[in-house]
Symmetry: C2
Subunit: 168 residues, 2 copies
């Protein structure tokens, strides 16, 4: 498709909103409201015993304690792997020897440009990182044998994808 | 958590953006930029042979042909099941005898309020529905034996969740 025009109607902290006009492959033209997101990463960090999750307030959905895998938004100029390594240290206090890209998902492609790269991280060891001042994160060590039961109560889409893809 | 204030900084077509201030359970106060979404549904419709997918342009991620399960946004006052039945008729031309809620996901809870309800729909029969004028949707009948291989190329998070939960 070809972008014909783009008007930024909101410049925000994490996201911008633009109204864009496109010409599709078949020649038709459409107008779309697009929430522009810098992209994100999420990390499925696990060893033989547990998967590392985080519990934190998510104001956007009015949840005081959403259970998710560690995740974060790309900083300007930051690569996905670099971001994932930073977030794993900041949120869980871990480094990983082995990283591989497990899956890329688009979280809500009808309206949001976010592309989330999910990494699997193994060979874990302690690391130090500093949480943002307004983050309030508890680390949860979920035994691998309890993942299936825990999924019932987990709603973050990226986390559900990652846990369903965890090797058994 | 308690919402202390909310300022709408953008009123859009599908989404609004608000800057909100919250007091958390522990007393700390935070400011968050929230993209307010009315909620959505997605439908995992299948029979013994195939799963019904749709292929359509998704301008937000600059993809001319994203493969997804049928899905849509709640209209004002519309219930989730009612919306799912409408979307299945409009996008795939099917009605279903049996509906059950497979999973609720939050697509991007750090920034977007969207709550997506995924239904499983079986006992399929032809139905008629009318597509929106600017929708351009092709129906894809994916043999169930090919779902695992097809997942490699599927990136819509809600679709990945649904297909990973398809009974085998």
């Amino acid at each position: 498709m070809e972008e014909l025009s783009s008007e930024k109607v909101h410049a925000g902290h994490t996201v911008d909103v633009s109204v864009k006009r496109y010409r599709r492959a078949d020649g038709t033209e459409v107008t779309r409201e697009v929430v522009e997101h810098p992209g994100s990463v999420a990390i499925l960090a696990y060893d033989d015993e547990v998967v590392y999750l985080v519990r934190q307030p998510r104001e956007a959905i009015e949840d005081d304690a959403l259970l998710e895998i560690p995740a974060g938004t790309l900083e300007p100029g930051e690569g996905e792997l670099e971001c994932a390594q930073r977030e794993l240290a900041e949120e869980v206090g871990l480094a990983a020897e082995h990283w591989h890209e497990l899956k890329v998902v688009h979280t809500s492609p009808g309206v949001l440009s976010e592309r989330a790269t999910i990494f699997a991280a193994t060979g874990l060891s302690p690391a130090s990182g500093e949480q943002d001042a307004d983050e309030q994160i508890d680390v949860v060590r979920l035994p691998r044998a309890e993942v299936k039961a825990a999924l019932e109560g987990i709603t973050d889409a990226t986390t559900v994808v990652a846990l369903l893809m965890l090797p058994t």
